[in-house]
Structure formats: C-alpha cells, structure tokens
C-alpha cells in the first residue's frame, strides 16, 4: 500500500490549483513519473498494456474475418464478425417472424426514445406518465399485432432486445407502486402492517433472484385455481416485479426517513389525514430525493433481466446463446458475447452517467 499513496491525491478534492503543466513533457513528469514508485508503476502498466493490447487488436481487427458464407470458412486466427453479420438480427430479435422484424425494431426505438425523454427533467410529471402509457400501448400493439393489418405474434416469439427492455421497464413501472406501499408499510405505526412488510422485504432481499424466478416458473401455476394457466413471459415478469419491489422499497424508505419531522407536523396541523399527508407532503419530497438511487436500481434491474434465460426465456443473452447452437456456425462464443456486451454496456453506461449527473445537481441544490 505504500506504493500508491492515496493521500497524495486528496488535495485536489478541496480545489487546490492543479499544477500548471506547460508542456507535454512536464505533464508526463507530474502525472506519471513524479516519484520512483510511480515510475515503476507506470512502466509496469505500460508493459502490461504492451503485452495485452496488441493481441486483442490483432484478434478483433487485423486478423478478423468480416465476410464468410459459412462457419467453417470463418475459423481463423482472428474474430469472425461474419457471424454477427449473419446472426445479428437473430440475436436482436430472436424467433420473431423475419418479415416482421421492423416491429420489434420500432419497439426498441420507442423504448430508447422514452428512456431519453425520461432524462429530461422538464417533462417529469403527468406528461411523462402519459407518454409512458401511450408508449407501452404502442409497444403492446406492435409486438402482438393482430390489428391494423399486422399479423398476430404470440409472446413465445418475443425474443432478444425487445424482451430485455420490456422485462426491465415493465418490471420497474409495476414494482414502483408496490414498493411505495411496502416502504410506507415498513414505516407504519401499526405493528401487524409493519411486520408483514418487513418480512416480505427481508425475505426477498435475502434470496437470489434465481429462486424467485424458479418460484414463479414452478410454483405460480400451483398457486392458481385449477384451469387458469399463466404463460412463461408473464411468470417471469411477475417474479421480476416482486423482486424489484423489495429493493425499490428500501430506496423509497431511505427517502421517507430523510423527511424532517416538521413536515409531518405541519401536515398534521393543517388537519391532513394519513393518506392526504402522505400523498401531498411526504411522498413528493421523499421520491424526488431518491431519484438517483432509483436510476441505479433500474440499471441493476436491466442487467438482472438476463437471468430469465435460466427459466427458458430468450432475452438478448438467451437469443445469443440460441444463435450459438447453429450447427453451421459453431464456436463463435467470444464474438456473440462481445456483441451483446456492447449493447448492455451502452445502455447501462449512459444511464449510470445520467444518474451521476443527477446526483451532482441534487447535491448542488441541497448545499446552499
């Protein structure tokens, strides 16, 4: 630990002037070679990069094969991007009818547009809720079809990226109201309500998502009265909602705890009852405070949807695995995983950047 002295960095945090670096050479000296341990570290890191980066570039670009008619012609020293060219549409949209691929594509565009719109703080409020409602209706119409001259597509064939986006967003949207109720219940004065809410939250948070998914896929059919069946997609969606609700509830509770007592007392002195106080005074302030962690939680949920492949759904990861089973194109694991990793990464990275930006802005307005 003596090699990397963290305390050397800390002065920058209290906005001391950075050393003015006149030339690139001076910059190098200040930032890379300012002491003997740092020089050793820099050289070690440069050596590591020199060893690892060239083979990766050779694999991914120089030796890569971009066009090939079959998997056999594609096995070489480098990556086979022809596999992605061949299977990319399958990985993105799965077994959705090939001629109808414009529909899931349009759904993905709608989702991206709605997520982008949600980032604009001027739209927050009723208008955004309306936008999401309209967007989800459009998504449902496009995916199912059966109206406006579009053929009907059963939801077993909703695969790939649209499925990932549906599971993540619908999961969060439906988990949110449940989470608010659970958080309020956990803070309730009534011991019975509090006990049941605490029990639910801690139970769900104590077990892995897989067990909740197993439970939904195996036990949900048993829970329902004889004769009522529930399809696989809905089961997974229910599991994700129930799981996300427990985590969101803890975030909301954090916001509720941060509301000063005076706010409750002020509402009481205005003669508000519990629900009016909660709806008009407490929740608006509590929820505004926890928006950054909610965004983080959404990112976690987005990544977690990949677990549905374990109960046999074909989301983005599942479709990639399915594409890998083609006998004509075998063994291109790294190419397929790199492709979908790039998609997951793009979504998650920009959302996490957005949440960091929000956090900074929120902190700015709070420290007056």
């Amino acid at each position: 630990m003596a090699d990397i002295d963290v305390t050397q960095e800390l002065p920058l945090l209290v906005e001391r002037p950075r050393p003015v670096t006149a030339s690139p050479l001076a910059w190098l000296r200040v930032n890379l070679f300012n002491s003997i341990p740092n020089t050793i570290l820099t050289l070690a890191a440069l050596y590591l990069l020199a060893v690892t980066i060239p083979p990766v570039i050779r694999w991914a670009l120089v030796d890569a094969i971009w066009h090939a008619d079959s998997g056999r012609a594609c096995h070489g020293a480098g990556a086979c991007w022809a596999f992605i060219a061949e299977k990319g549409r399958f990985i993105l949209f799965g077994r959705y009818p090939y001629q109808e691929h414009w529909r899931p594509l349009f759904v993905v565009v709608i989702f991206i547009a709605m997520i982008l719109a949600s980032c604009d703080r001027r739209l927050w409020g009723r208008r955004l809720a309306l936008l999401w409602f309209a967007g989800l209706v459009a998504v449902g119409v496009l995916m199912w079809g059966g109206v406006l001259g579009m053929t009907y597509v059963e939801n077993e064939r909703w695969n790939g990226l649209p499925l990932t986006l549906i599971l993540a967003t619908v999961g969060t949207l439906f988990a949110f109201p449940l989470a608010i109720l659970l958080a309020l219940g956990r803070r309730s004065r009534l011991p019975a309500v509090r006990g049941i809410c605490v029990g639910y939250i801690e139970l769900i948070r104590g077990v892995p998502l897989i067990t909740v998914l197993f439970m939904a896929s195996v036990m949900l059919p048993l829970f329902l009265p004889t004769g009522i069946t529930i399809d696989k997609l809905l089961r997974a969606q229910v599991a994700i909602i129930l799981f996300a609700a427990a985590y969101l509830a803890e975030i909301v509770r954090g916001g509720l705890q941060a509301i000063p007592r005076g706010q409750y007392e002020a509402a009481d002195s205005l003669g508000f009852g519990y629900w009016r106080r909660t709806r008009l005074i407490v929740l608006p302030q509590a929820l505004a405070m926890v928006i950054p962690p909610l965004v983080n939680s959404f990112i976690g949920g987005f990544k977690n949807t990949s677990l549905v492949i374990i109960i046999g759904l074909f989301d983005l990861l599942g479709a990639a695995n399915a594409a890998l089973t083609d006998a004509n194109w075998q063994g291109f694991y790294l190419e397929a995983y790199a492709f979908i990793a790039a998609i997951y990464w793009t979504f998650c990275f920009f959302m996490s950047r957005y949440s960091q930006m929000l956090e900074r802005e929120f902190n700015k307005s709070r420290q007056r």
Partner: protein, 393 residues
Amino acid sequence: MTDTAAVAPRPGRPPRNPRIREVIYQILFISIVVTLAGFLIHNTLTNLRRQNIASGFGFLDREAAFGIGESLVAYSPADTYARAFLVGLLNTLYVSALGVVLATILGTVIGIARLSSNWLIRKLAQIYVEAVRNIPILLQLFFWWAMLRVSAPAPRQAWELLPGVLVSNRGFVFPVPTADPVHHWMLLAVVLGIAGAVGVGRWSRRRQTRTGAQFPSAWVGAGLVIGLPLLVFLAAGMPLKLDWPELKGFNFVGGGAVSPEFAALLIGLTVYTGAFIAEIVRAGILAVGWGQSEAASALGLKPGQRMRLIVLPQALRVIVPPMTSEYLNLTKNSSLAVAIGYPDLVSIANTTMNQTGQAIEGIAMIMAVYLTISLIISLFMNLYNRAIALVER
C-alpha cells in the same frame, strides 16, 4: 373543537378513536393477508393432489442417483438427496468464501488505484470499473466459461502461465506439495507464531501506554508467524517435494486441478464484485476529510502511519456497511453457477426438483439456506462494524 369528540361516529365512517381505528385496520389487513394465503395454499394443495405430487421432506432419504462433478466431501450417486444437498451447500460456501476474499483484495487494490496520483494507473482502474460494472454478471460468467471451455487449447497445447501452472480446456492444473509429516509440525509452528505475535502486540501496546516507548511489534509478529515454520522447515532438512501435473494421454495427471466451471465462476464473481468494492473503498477514503491527514502530518506521523492510524480507521466506518451488502450479493450471485454447470446448491436443488417433482420443498430449502447465510454474514459484519464504530463520549 371540544365538542367533536362527543359527536357519535356516523355510520360508514371510521371510528374517531385512533386506538380502536388502528386495531380495526390491523385486523382487516391481517385477515386480507390470511385469506389470500389460505386461497393460495388451498389451490396448491388441490393442484398437488390432482397432479399426484408427493409433499414433505421424505425424499431426502431416498437415493439421489445422479453424479456430481466436483465435491468437497465423498459422494456417489448411491448417496441420498440429503447428502447431495450437503455437497451443493459446501460448494456454494466454498466458492462464495473464496470469492469474498479475492474480491476484497482486488477491490481494495483497484479502489486505491482509482485515487492514485499516477494518471495511467488511475485511468486503467477507471476503465476496469466502468467496463465491468455495466455488463450483466451472467454474461460475464458465460464469457469466462467460453474462454476456459471453448477458446482455451487442448491439454497438449496448454498455456503455461507460470512454470507448472497450466490452463487448458480441462481447467487449471498446478503443482502441489506432497504430504510430509513435517508439515504438521510447521502448522503447529504457525499457530505458535500467531499466538506469540498477539502476545507481543499486547505487551508492546501496554508498554507504549505506560512509557511511550515504541516497539516494532508488527515486524516482530510477522517474523514470528513466518520465521517459526521456516525454522522448522529448515531444521527438518527442507523436505519439499512438489507433485507436478503431467500430461498423460489426453489429460493431466497429478498436481492440483480446478475445473473450468469453478474457475469461470470464481473469476467472474471476483471480477464483477471487485469493481463494486473498488467504488466503495474509493468513496470511503474520499469521505475522510483532508484536514485529518493534514492534522496527522502536523503531529509528525509518517505517510504510512497516517494511512494506518488516521485515514483507514475512519474510512472503514463508511466502507463496512455497503461492503456487507456486496458480500451478500456475491453469495447470492454464486447461485448463477446453475447456468454454467458448476454443482452449487441451486443447481443440485434444480436437478432434485426435476427428478422428484417436489418443487416447493426444493425452493424452500434453497431459500432457507440463503436466508441463513445472509443472516450470518449480516451478523458478523454488524459485530465488526460495532467494533470499529466511533466511540463517542
């Protein structure tokens, strides 16, 4: 407003006395929950009877009749389901414990590197964190599995990382020392060394409080822990024989071996959780005000002492609570072993459920185990947290 209490409650309105109202609300709430639970249980029982699925834990004594690839205890397909569950539980605990230790080390190093004054180190650490955090853990596990299972060469062309440490599509192999009676004495020497180090530490602290004189107890302690077994080793004439893995036919014989599934799971969990721990460590160190370090310097403490005595104890208070939840996450994420074929608890329970059809019992057992593990980890971390918490006057 004094007369309102005297007004009798109108019918259809909740009673005005808050005590009574609360009791009524709770009775209503509980009866709704109980009715719902009863409805679900009734349906389940009806469905189970209709599908002829047995219930109860009687199946645990029956023969499991499936093989398990890796096991820490003796197991054969002729053993019972209960034994199979034990194998799975031990595998889960084993990979989680190793993962927690490795992820903590990796995360701490990366977290400190994120704050380095060296631009290159700082950027590399940042790239690692940003790349790993934003990709699902399951995808990463598949990636490592494919790297080790598919992209790695056959044993004949195995990559040699270090002399004797080889990677092939059969996993990792490495040399292990062959057992020797002297090793028991060395173990005893380690125990004695630790006891001695603790004793020296106590004595030097007492002496320092009394007289102010310092004693290099850390060096002496380290010398005892490492030196004593080394002395035993040298005195016995250095009986070190390594069992090297050898290529025989299509696979390696001898030495220690780790399956690709286990290696993929351990690497994946460590790399993924390490990125989150790095952020926690970084935030914890940043949370200690710069004035603390300046004050320490003003008192004449050296940089190492400043870190050890002033910054780290304060940073730990910020670090420990989120660290607990990362350890819990790692343990829960180890359940994804089922996707890459490592026989952890969930994957064995899954096989059992498929064979016996007793899903409810299987899931109940998994949940009970994970809840217990969560509670135990939380308990220990809370105890540790209390030990390092700020003592206020």
